[in-house]
C-alpha cells in the first residue's frame, strides 16, 4: 500500500536569513517617509468607511501552477484587488512611522533591510483579556 507521504512533493530546502539575532537597521529611514505619514489625524477603524473591497478580476489556481491537490484551498494567488480606502492607508502609515513603532519595532536581516516587526505586541494582552484568559 503506498504511503500518503509519497504522493506529496519533497519538502523545500529552507534557506533562512543569515542574521541569527534581532538586529536594528544600520541606516535610518528617510525623513520624508516619516514626515509625510504624520499628516493624518487619528481615527478609530470603521469597516464601513475604511474598507473598499472589490473582488479580484481573476485568481490563479493551484492546478494552474502544477500543485493540484496541495495546500488548503484550490486558490493559489489572486490578481491585485482594492481592500482599504485611502483614509485607511493614511492611518496605517501614520502608525507604522510613529515614534513608538520606529523606536521599538525596527529590524533588519539578510532577507530584508528595513522591517517593522511586532507592531501589535500589546494587542496580545488585550485579546487575552477579551477571551477571559486574564481578568
Amino acid at each position: 500500500m503506498p504511503y500518503i507521504a509519497d504522493s506529496r512533493p519533497a519538502p523545500p530546502t529552507v534557506i533562512g536569513p543569515t542574521t541569527k539575532r534581532a538586529t536594528r537597521p544600520s541606516h535610518a529611514l528617510p525623513q520624508f517617509l516619516i514626515d509625510n505619514a504624520k499628516a493624518a489625524e487619528k481615527e478609530v477603524f470603521d469597516a464601513e468607511k475604511h474598507l473598499n473591497f472589490q473582488p479580484p478580476k481573476s485568481v490563479t489556481t493551484m492546478k494552474e501552477i502544477g500543485l493540484s491537490g496541495h495546500g488548503i484551498s484550490p486558490v493559489a494567488v489572486s490578481e491585485p484587488f482594492p481592500l482599504f480606502s485611502p483614509e485607511a492607508i493614511s492611518q496605517i502609515r501614520a502608525e507604522i512611522f510613529s515614534e513608538p513603532v520606529l523606536r521599538d519595532c525596527q529590524y533588519s536581516s539578510s532577507f530584508a533591510k528595513n522591517m517593522i516587526r511586532g507592531m501589535g505586541r500589546e494587542y496580545v494582552f488585550q485579546r487575552m483579556v477579551e477571551k477571559g484568559k486574564i481578568d
Binding site: F53, F84, I116, M119
Partner: protein, 137 residues
C-alpha cells in the same frame, strides 16, 4: 502575584493603545476577514496577535530607473528575498501607490521553475506556504 501580573497587563494595554490600534483592529475585523476569505476560497483568520501585520520598507534610489528582474539570486534588488512562508495564506498589501514604481511586484516560483509576477497597487492574496515567493522593489 496575580494582582501584580494583572496590573502589568493593564499597563501593557495602555501601551497597546498608544501603538497600532487602527492596524490591529482593521486586520481583526470580521468584515475584512470575510473579504479576504472570499478571495482565498477558504475561511481565514489572522494567525496570531503578536505580529498582526509585518511591514517591509523598501526605498528605491531615485536615480536608478533600470528594469528590475526577478531572477533567482537577485536578492540585492528585492524588498524581501525568495522565501517560503510559514503560514498557509498571506495577504500582501501595498501601502504605497506603485503604479509608477520600479518593481512593486510579488513574484512566485512554480514547481516547474516558472516565475509569475503579480503587480500592485492594491493587494494580493497568496497561498504561499506551498511555493517560493519574493517581493521586488
Amino acid at each position: 502575584m496575580q494582582s501584580t501580573f494583572s496590573s502589568c497587563i493593564r499597563s501593557q494595554l495602555t501601551l497597546y493603545r498608544r501603538r497600532a490600534p487602527f492596524t490591529c483592529d482593521a486586520w481583526s475585523s470580521s468584515e475584512l476577514q470575510s473579504f479576504v476569505s472570499q478571495v482565498a476560497g477558504i475561511d481565514l483568520v489572522q494567525a496570531f496577535d503578536y505580529e498582526i501585520a509585518n511591514i517591509n520598507i523598501s526605498i528605491n534610489d531615485p536615480s536608478s530607473r533600470e528594469k528590475v528582474t526577478a531572477a533567482e539570486g537577485d536578492e540585492e534588488v528585492s524588498a524581501f528575498a525568495w522565501h517560503y512562508d510559514s503560514f498557509p495564506f498571506v495577504c500582501v498589501t501595498m501601502i504605497s501607490d506603485c503604479s509608477d514604481m520600479v518593481g512593486g511586484e510579488t513574484a512566485i516560483k512554480t514547481p516547474c521553475g516558472d516565475i509569475k509576477k503579480v503587480r500592485g497597487p492594491a493587494m494580493v492574496s497568496l497561498q504561499s506556504e506551498a511555493f517560493s515567493r519574493q517581493e521586488i522593489n
